[in-house]
Assembly symmetry: C2
Homo-oligomer: 253 residues x 2
Amino acid sequence: MRNSDAGGGVGGAMRKPDRTLIADMEVFQGAGPEMLDAILADARVLRIERETAVFAEGEEAAAFFLLLDGHVRVVRTTPAGDQVIMRYIGAGQLIGIAQAIGQATYPASAIAAVDCVALAWPGSLWERFMARTPGFAAAACRTVGRRLQDTQAQLIDMATGQVEQRVARALCRLARQSGRQTGAGLEISFPLSRQDIAEMTGATLHSVSRLLAAWTAMGIIAGGRQRVTVTDFARLQARAGNHPPDAGGEHGP
Amino acid sequence: MRNSDAGGGVGGAMRKPDRTLIADMEVFQGAGPEMLDAILADARVLRIERETAVFAEGEEAAAFFLLLDGHVRVVRTTPAGDQVIMRYIGAGQLIGIAQAIGQATYPASAIAAVDCVALAWPGSLWERFMARTPGFAAAACRTVGRRLQDTQAQLIDMATGQVEQRVARALCRLARQSGRQTGAGLEISFPLSRQDIAEMTGATLHSVSRLLAAWTAMGIIAGGRQRVTVTDFARLQARAGNHPPDAGGEHGP
DNA sequence: GGACCGGTTTGCGATAGCGCAAAGAGTTGG
DNA sequence: CCAACTCTTTGCGCTATCGCAAACCGGTCC
């Protein structure tokens, strides 16, 4: 089990950020300088330590957040106690927008994958933003829509794909979204355990471990403890579903 | 393969409906009578025959729709050719809202499960609605958000549940949303083949058939060709994994 | 330095559910 | 009333994947 208790770990304030920090966020497009300042005036700046919760599933949705730096994973827990990682969210994205969808409580938990910085607004301001900030509503709608698209794509994967495909796709997605180019390849820029990958793909830790071991041996990926680097993106993509043009016998004895 | 070609089958117009028809739709809450009339003035009324497409995946998103009567299923097709039923949509809901999420093409197909009636607006009007109809943006956002919630719930099912649970949950959901109370129980009010259920749950036709046969024998459900009636909702829910009020300590036969 | 600890790897048996194949059983239309 | 069709049921071998158990590692704490 993970140490992901409570909403603790949300650290103290920093000095107020400059408006240029949020001026190019999609949600605030169309807002003038004075409006941006007003928006910022209502924001708290949070620093969230690694592996602590920004907010927890079921909690009253008292605030919504804009992630300025870091990555958080959005997790839901089943009645049976299984965790499922819905997505990872990177800098520049909104989280905790329960009010956008008319929910009084957060439907999922958000856990910082690394130390993060975020802006927080009281939930009550959501409506004001929706009403007064030009384009905010449309942008929020698109944001939610995009997540719906992603989730649907994942659902399709789960419905039709084998574990190998699902894991390959998850890694491709993460590498594309959060990959940092290094000498060795695209390195996923936050700690990502085999267990995490399993919880993203609906597989078991064991299957994932086997898979990654095989791919490491083939030179498709590299990395150790909570680290994954994609060294051969094309070949990983091939594993993700486009199996036809492939040689190489694989898999155990 | 199903006879679900093209956007054909979209029949001719009916006489204009009365504004009361849409006045209580969530998306048009807050719109005054004259605005409702204006909205209706721009709408076309469509009659869609059973098993024909309202719109097709990949098609340019030229319009969005409000389903007035009937049920449509929203389907996506994988590159490999597998169909996945994302959801069923009933009367009163918006469909084809690709523009809401900033898509130029429909991400899925919508096929009428029964003869349907819908209103259609040119996609170009979306922005006007968003801007001028009070509450429309927020309602649209909530609609998309609710679908996101649903899809996430399904994803969790797929990730953690066995086929039996998934099928049971899918039936519970359908019965709750579209069940018509009859003497025998809650009858799902549109044709629903085993194959459809399979495509909703990521199972095979065969597994679904076996499952339903077993449940029929137990008196949990009833129904024949493309028909499902839930005769014992509580017990079906138990199969779905929630063993709450029930005390039945049963498992596989 | 050695025990400890979270994450990772690996082996192996158990099995759910797929894939294939073919027979039944309602429906539809001539 | 029969033929054709579609949907459904059923049998059976097969394999991907789980579940458990145990060995491994690279740091960390004392």
